[in-house]
């Protein structure tokens, strides 16, 4: 009696597995195995051809004395600290404004989504023209309207300003995408809550503070996690905006993923670059775990 039941269950599982299999096998071969391998490599020295040598923690101790690693780490963290809150605020603001019944709402929604779908190479080219150090309109306005000294114009793509440029660019490029997510969240809030609050005499700020923000907390959680992970992964924007004559990044603009690439495929130091990748992995993991627990605790206290 039990036998057919078991086999039916097994059958159902097998059917399910067979559907998962194509994707999962691909994932294992091309993603999971390399990740596991990178963990091992982080403790080794390897150039991709010669035998692998075990190094212990030497790769990790080397990180502390590495000027470029420290610069990359600092830049990546600063970039995240700038981009995550700014993008979140900008996209939430846009979502709230474009959730009202304003005329041309569809047009504005499309316009704010446009940077996200535009090709990165094309829009960085436009940004580079706009912020061109001597001929760009931004710097021309600084000279002609604000009377800035033409000899000391800001260099938007080098020095201390390059991170600012990168942050501004990212906010502009990605706010449309997160706006859509927030819009979906906003439309999930029941209008009864706002009506009840109006009856109780709540103003706009109080409605936002006590209804919108708490109701959106799971959306915000998602947005912040995705933003943080994406920010730590920054590579293309840095190379496109700040890459020099041969694509290299200086100390002021280098970022972790670029450094990982450089160490791995230009200098063929795969062990060391895996160690840098581990640092990136641990950082993203920590941030995500903290946010996850914060969210879980908040939901418990809310209940």
């Amino acid at each position: 009696m039990a036998k057919p039941h078991l086999s039916r269950n097994l059958k159902r599982n097998l059917v399910a597995y067979s559907f998962i299999a194509p994707n999962f096998i691909g994932f294992c071969v091309f993603t999971l195995l390399p990740i596991v391998f990178a963990f091992v490599l982080a403790f080794c020295k390897w150039d991709g051809s010669n035998p692998i040598e075990f190094m212990g923690f030497k790769n990790f101790t080397r990180l502390f004395g590495d000027t470029f690693f420290k610069a990359a780490l600092k830049n990546t963290i600063l970039y995240c600290l700038g981009t995550v809150p700014l993008t979140m605020v900008a996209s939430l603001g846009l979502a709230i404004v474009l959730n009202q019944k304003v005329i041309g709402r569809g047009v504005f929604r499309t316009l704010s989504f446009f940077p996200y779908v535009a090709s990165l190479v094309a829009v960085t080219a436009v940004w580079k023209m706009l912020f061109h150090p001597t001929k760009g309109p931004i710097n021309s306005i600084l000279v002609n309207v604000f009377g800035h000294d033409p000899q000391l114009l800001p260099q938007w793509f080098s020095g201390s300003l390059v991170l600012v440029s990168m942050i501004l660019f990212s906010v502009w490029k990605f706010m449309g995408y997160y706006m859509v997510i927030y819009l979906a969240g906003l439309q999930g809030i029941s209008s009864e809550l706002y009506e009840a609050a109006s009856l109780d005499g709540a103003g706009t700020w109080n409605k936002f503070r006590y209804i919108t923000w708490p109701q959106l907390s799971s959306t915000t959680f998602f947005v912040v996690v995705m933003l943080t992970i994406n920010c730590f992964k920054i590579y293309d924007i840095a190379v496109m905006l700040a890459g020099g004559g041969s694509g290299e990044l200086t100390e002021s603009s280098t970022v972790l993923v670029f450094y990982i690439y450089q160490k791995a495929f230009i200098n063929w130091d795969l062990g060391y670059s895996s160690a840098v990748a581990m640092v990136l992995f641990v950082m993203v993991l920590t941030v995500t775990v903290i946010q996850f627990y914060g969210q879980a605790r908040k939901e418990r206290t809310d209940r």
Binding site: F68, Q155, G159, G245, N267, W268
Partner: protein
């Protein structure tokens, strides 16, 4: 029944297809196929010229070219040759850092035994091969050798009434000449000189005294050139590095625009200029009247020293036809290959008087005596000679070059950083 027949037929089809594939890759017996890694096949004439000429004189050999693209050629090649899965026989070596990587990865073999066996005289490479020895062994033979010269626009000098640059100039004279021909009037702007965003255009001017290389670990000697060029930038004698980087302006566009009087660049630009002016892609009114002179030199050093970049060929460790591959490498780098290279205006590594005459005789090459004399090189220093950590050193220097040129760091700070960081690599 019908279904079964169809199934059997399909199986047969598949088997036939597989057998067909197998037959193809199995080779046809006697002939040898050499797989050769190159870049930019469509825009570079000489790859197919060499293939054709070699196959004509070696009937049993087929050369199969694989184009890996030029942008990150050495990176792609190193990836291809990692592990043991590659089936390249001959690979082209684009630069020395990439060469160092391949040698360290044991991806290419030392050619010394072959060189001894076939009695190849390395003297024909004018010392270039000595600068890429790895522990006394040679892993590549150069077939192309480009060296740096000064390109200048004669029309600009005529208009300004300034005498042309000469084959014997010091850097001070070069600087003075560039300033003389510069015009900063808006609308009639002329830049006396132009430096592309590569590090080589600035730093390597300092290597010409023969006392320094970029592997030294101490870079104080490049300071005068950073000072000279940054001062030129400030005075409007040349375009600013930060501008060029932002625009991504190519040196060929800068020179063919007709507002650059002089530019230091490699001899590869000669054939580019000739072809594009002929085709009408560059406006002959703006840049058609050009000439070349020898690279300026330091005070007290004789004229004619310049920087060079060699392009070489190597035999891979994984190759199953090493002897045939060596024969190809030897042929291309020798006199016969040199003739093929020169026919399209490119500089072969084995330079002879005939080759020089052939290049200077190409239609479109400047007809003045100076330009032809500029092809005589007395000392050739490789932009990058071989060293153990050359690839890492290159990354560090590139990065701080950018920092100095954009003004992120002062010249002294930048050079100190170079000394410190390269010192760390060398001290390892």
């Amino acid at each position: 029944m019908k279904k079964r027949i169809i199934a059997v037929l399909m199986c047969l089809c598949m088997l036939a297809a597989m057998a067909g594939c197998g037959g193809k890759s199995g080779g046809s017996g006697k002939g040898v196929t050499l797989k050769w890694a190159i870049w930019d096949e469509s825009s570079t004439q000489y790859w197919s010229d060499i293939k054709k000429a070699y196959e004509e004189s070696h009937k049993n050999v087929t050369v199969e070219m694989v184009d890996l693209g030029s942008t990150d050629y050495m990176t792609v090649l190193a990836t291809e040759l990692s592990g043991s899965g590659s089936d390249f026989d001959v690979v082209t070596i684009k630069d020395v850092p990439g060469y160092a990587t391949l040698v360290q990865k044991n991806a290419i073999i030392a050619l010394d035994d072959y060189i001894k066996k076939d009695k190849v005289d390395l003297a024909k490479f004018a010392g270039a091969t000595d600068q890429v020895l790895v522990n006394g062994k040679l892993y590549e033979l150069p077939f192309r050798n480009d060296f740096w010269v000064i390109f200048y626009n004669k029309d600009i000098f005529d208009r300004a009434g300034v005498p042309y640059p000469t084959n014997d100039m010091t850097w001070e004279e070069y600087d003075a000449l560039a300033r003389k021909v510069t015009n900063t009037t808006f609308g009639k702007q002329v830049y006396g000189t132009h430096y592309h965003t590569w590090r080589s255009t600035v730093q390597l001017c300092a290597m010409l005294d023969g006392k320094h290389t970029i592997l030294d670990g101490n870079y104080d000697f490049v300071k005068p050139f950073y000072e000279m060029i940054l001062k030129q930038e400030k005075d409007g004698v040349c375009r600013k590095y930060a501008d060029l980087k932002t625009e991504g302006l190519h040196y060929s566009a800068a020179f063919s625009g007709g507002d650059v009087a002089m530019m230091n660049q490699g001899s590869w630009f000669i054939s580019t200029l000739i072809t594009n002016i002929k085709k009408g892609d560059y406006d002959a009114k703006l840049c058609g009247n050009w000439g070349i002179v020898k690279y300026p030199h330091a005070k007290g050093v004789e004229a004619g020293s310049t920087l060079g970049t060699i392009t070489g060929l190597s035999v891979t460790t994984a190759s199953k036809n090493k002897d045939a591959a060596w024969d190809f490498v030897n042929w291309v780098s020798g006199a016969e290959g040199a003739a093929v290279m020169a026919s399209s205006g490119n500089f072969p590594a084995c330079m002879t008087e005939d080759v020089k005459n052939a290049i200077a005789g190409i239609d479109g090459f400047p007809t003045d005596k100076q330009s032809k004399e500029a092809l005589d090189v007395s000392n050739l220093y490789l932009e990058v000679p071989y060293g153990d950590h050359v690839s890492e050193i290159n990354s560090v220097l590139d990065s701080y070059h950018g920092s100095i040129m954009t003004g992120e760091l002062s010249i002294d700070e930048g050079i100190k950083k170079m000394n410190d960081e390269v010192g760390k690599i060398l001290g390892k």
